[in-house]
Amino acid sequence: MSKTYSRRGFLKALGVIGTTAATSTIVSCTSSENSASAGTDQEPPIGKMTYRTNPTTGDKVSLLGYGMMRLPTVETNGSAREENDAEIDQDMVNRQVDYAIEHGVNYFDTSPAYCRGRSETATGIALARHKRNEYFIATKLSNFAPETWSRQASIEMFHNSLKQLQVDYIDYLLLHAIGGGDDAMDTFNKRYIDNGILDFLVEQRDKGVIRNLGFSYHGDIAIFDHALKMQDDGKIKWDFVQIELNYLDWKYANEINDRNTDAEYLYAELVKRGLPSVIMEPLLGGRLANLPEPLAGRLLARDPQRTIASWAFRYAGTFPKVLTVLSGMTRMEHLKENLNTYCPLEPLNDEEMKFLEHIAEEYVSFDIIPCNDCKYCMPCPYGLDIPAIFVHYNKCLVEQNVPRDTGSPAYRKARRVFLVGYDRSVPRLRQADHCIGCGQCESHCPQRIRIPREMERISRYVDALKRDDTKGLAETTKTDEEEQ
């Protein structure tokens, strides 16, 4: 009898350890687990934030903007990514928003689509506890679904944003992710032009319900050019534009994916027209905080006091016409680290900019899938966890656990890490081999990743890994460019 008890006690103890382990890991939607950073250890100073001035309205905008796309969620279990279903941790959101405002952050960027449609509500709750003149709200007209293309549905979406955010005016309103869709021009026209929504938004700006009108852009360059040409032709006056800018996308966005455009071009076009840039993906969903070891080593060796992420934030902030740099700070550590970077900003000098461009050049050779874990592709109707698959694959790439040759000395270990880790991070029925290639996700991807093709490649890679098939491994670790 005593044996039974002690065994039960042991199991119970295990359970307790398991739960404690689980709860102590705060869920983060991002994969940026960049620890070992001197910057996070010290409390960021108050009153030192760098501000930029909006040329149209004269707003003094903090260089660090709070992205509300990767909000913390209530912990349900420590492993896997089933946190997808978890509720937003409103207490934590409130705490972090309070802390951010206390340290000078005043720009909060959300959207009706973020966090499964819950971001605006959570943002509204957190910000309503502060004075309206203490913060700027940016939100978007995220009428992606064809059901919301009608004038009525889109206007309803706008009014709902005001309601959820508990405000009577929006400081920065964006057409959301123009340049997406299978036929980008057609999609753009249907979402904003044919239904008269752009005219409606201009009216709202005239009435003061919208203080600044702009757009965020991903994807087809023709739409970016088209939107700017509309301004050149006098059809519209944009107040700002949101683009993706970081040291990888500056010169290599196109090389990584031939359907994308380098940030160098985008930024130059905006500067030419005197338009301030709002920067998104400065860290590429955390990928630039989690660099492959040789590159991480070089950044750390150059300045052990600075975190790897801080280089990317300083890079984006160094451009003078950047109004604010958005960061989806899931955790308090992210917030503190970024505050330390921007309170105040120490701009990069020319030599440091070049240094980062070299890092970018080498990064490209790692064939990392350019997924930023934004989850725009989700939910996949066939149950796949697309971003989780990419995150796992990239993590293994960065940690050099994507073996290409069964004969390599570390093969067995790398194989185990890849396969066991794969089952841990993605349930089997949500893995890449279940992708049927319907392609529904592809038009939603801001990075324009050819998702079904990558799913098939990863599925074949995993199969080759299970079969210890060197030829299969070599074939499936080729990148798009090599295949073409």
Binding site: G18, D85, A145, M378, R430
Partner: protein, 502 residues
């Protein structure tokens, strides 16, 4: 004294190791311990493993039924249970007469069942396999839960030493039968020690009659005996009659308990010192029921499936980011001919050789094998593809099978062995029902047996649907497992009675 010590030590080692072999799911243990299943008597007989059978016969002819005391895990399990009782109630056994008619009847049933190919009946009577089912049904879930707890801890520390495995009910009838067998045998062992072995177990009967002629036996030295009855009261086989100084050697499992209990050295284990007469006792009232044969119900799968409850969204029709679509569990299709794994040669070979020890089932890394729910093949392994498919690199079931029901097969032969063929069900195919393009079955077919063809051959713009080239299909089930149609896959595998190399 020495006999008991050696026997206990050996039994502990054998029992522990064979239990580990039966529980292991990682595929590492059977390289070292696979032989332990292969030296089990009935599996060796069914595998026509002449060497092992001969050695076991020889072993018994020399030492008596030490097989039952050391090698058979079901026997050792009973000793354990009986020992727990004996610690509380000392000297609790009495001599009873052998139930010869029942023993011979059970043996006859087994022989007839083997001859008639009634696999499920053989399985019910096979002692090692009964233990296998108890281990697989009752112990493996616990083993897996502990493993999963360790895996969670390992994951926390970024260790890959453990990985978790889903615990699921593979077959309700088999679980119920395993539980019933355990309860029955445990009760018998608690009350009467080796009752099961000496009344029901046909292996015990065969070895018992061999042991009658063994060289070494437990024997009385009548001159020294003071008739204190301690030997009788401590004989878990109830086979010692101290009043007549006889030991029923057909029932004695050579455990040595009597030797260590006798204070007068009146019993010894060894060759005959002088002429001994073996007592054959007539029947007595002790009875035991056979494990209740539950009617075969369809096995339904209860399992912690991944259920991601989709929370209500703020606005209908709005595209929001994130979330996971719910995945409906797949339901096993009704297969006209059940599937048996590559290496099993045919349904008949499987039915005739398998003793349903579940070793292949617990070892299957892809959750393909599970006990059959059909009455004729009850508890014997069958395949289904809701949780995985029979992957080309894996031949584990063929490596572990001790009975020759699944013969050893290499990966190349396996990939060329047709165990069934895929059948497309148009009414379930998402190309037809959802109007999407798919072809996941064709993309993942390892033998290139699925071609995508136009639904309407006369219409160039009609959607592409799969067509199966039956000559190439090996029946691995990749298509069925990876088919997006739920709960019934739109392409499923129909088994073949006789496997064929293509």
């Amino acid at each position: 004294m020495r006999l008991k010590t050696i026997r206990t030590a050996l039994a502990a080692v054998f029992f522990t190791l064979i239990t580990i072999l039966l529980l292991d799911f990682t595929g590492t243990v059977h390289h070292w311990l696979g032989w332990m299943a292969k030296i089990q008597f009935l599996p060796a007989v069914l595998a026509l493993n002449v060497v092992v059978v001969a050695l076991l016969v020889l072993l018994t002819l020399v030492f008596g039924r030490i097989y039952c005391s050391v090698i058979c895990p079901l026997g050792v399990m009973q000793d354990l249970i009986s020992h727990l009782h004996s610690r509380r109630a000392k000297n609790r056994f009495t001599y009873s007469k052998a139930l010869t008619w029942l023993r011979l009847a059970m043996l006859a049933v087994l022989v007839v069942a083997i001859a008639a190919g009634l696999g499920s009946l053989v399985a019910l009577l096979a002692p090692y396999s009964t233990y296998g089912r108890i281990a697989a049904g009752l112990l493996q879930p616990i083993y897996l839960w502990v493993n999963n707890a360790l895996a969670a801890i390992a994951e926390h520390y970024h260790s890959y030493a453990f990985y978790s495995r889903e615990v699921w009910m593979r077959s309700l009838p088999t679980f119920v039968l395993a539980l019933a067998a355990f309860v029955l045998i445990a009760v018998l062992a608690w009350r009467g020690g080796r009752t099961y072995c000496n009344t029901i177990c046909p292996v015990g009967t065969v070895l018992g009659y061999l042991a009658k002629f063994s060289w070494l036996k437990v024997r009385f030295d009548a001159d020294k005996c003071k008739s204190c009855s301690l030997c009788t009261k401590n004989c878990k086989a109830s086979c010692i009659d101290h009043t007549t100084h006889t030991v029923d050697h057909t029932r004695c499992v050579a455990c040595g308990n009597c030797l260590s209990k006798c204070k007068f050295d009146a019993l010894y284990y060894g060759p005959a010192r002088k002429a001994q007469q073996a007592a054959t006792a007539p029947t007595e009232e002790q009875t035991a029921k056979t494990a209740p044969a539950d009617e075969a119900r369809r096995a339904f799968l209860v399992g912690g499936a991944i259920v991601a409850a989709e929370a209500a969204l703020a606005q209908a029709g709005k595209k929001v980011d994130g979330g996971l679509a719910e995945i409906e569990d797949k339901t096993a299709p009704k297969r006209t001919t059940p599937l048996t794994p590559p290496g099993s040669l045919s349904a008949r070979n499987m039915a005739r050789h398998c003793t349903a020890c579940q070793l292949c089932v617990t070892h299957c890394p892809n959750d393909v094998l599970r006990p059959s729910g059909d009455l004729a093949t009850l508890m014997q392994p069958t395949m289904s593809y809701e949780r995985g498919y029979c992957r080309p690199e894996c031949t584990r079931c063929s490596e572990v099978c001790p009975t020759g029901a699944i013969r050893p097969i290499d990966t190349a032969t396996k990939s060329a062995t047709q165990i069934g063929h895929a059948v497309w069900k148009k009414e379930n195919c998402v190309v037809v029902t959802d109007g999407v393009s798919c072809g996941n079955c064709a993309r993942h077919c390892p033998s290139g047996a699925i071609m995508m063809v136009q639904l309407d051959p006369n219409n160039d713009s009609s959607p592409m649907v799969p067509a199966v080239d039956r000559a190439k299909c090996i029946g691995c089930g990749a298509c069925e497992y990876l088919c997006p149609a739920r709960p019934f896959a739109a392409i499923y595998v129909e088994g073949h009675e006789v496997h064929k190399e293509i």
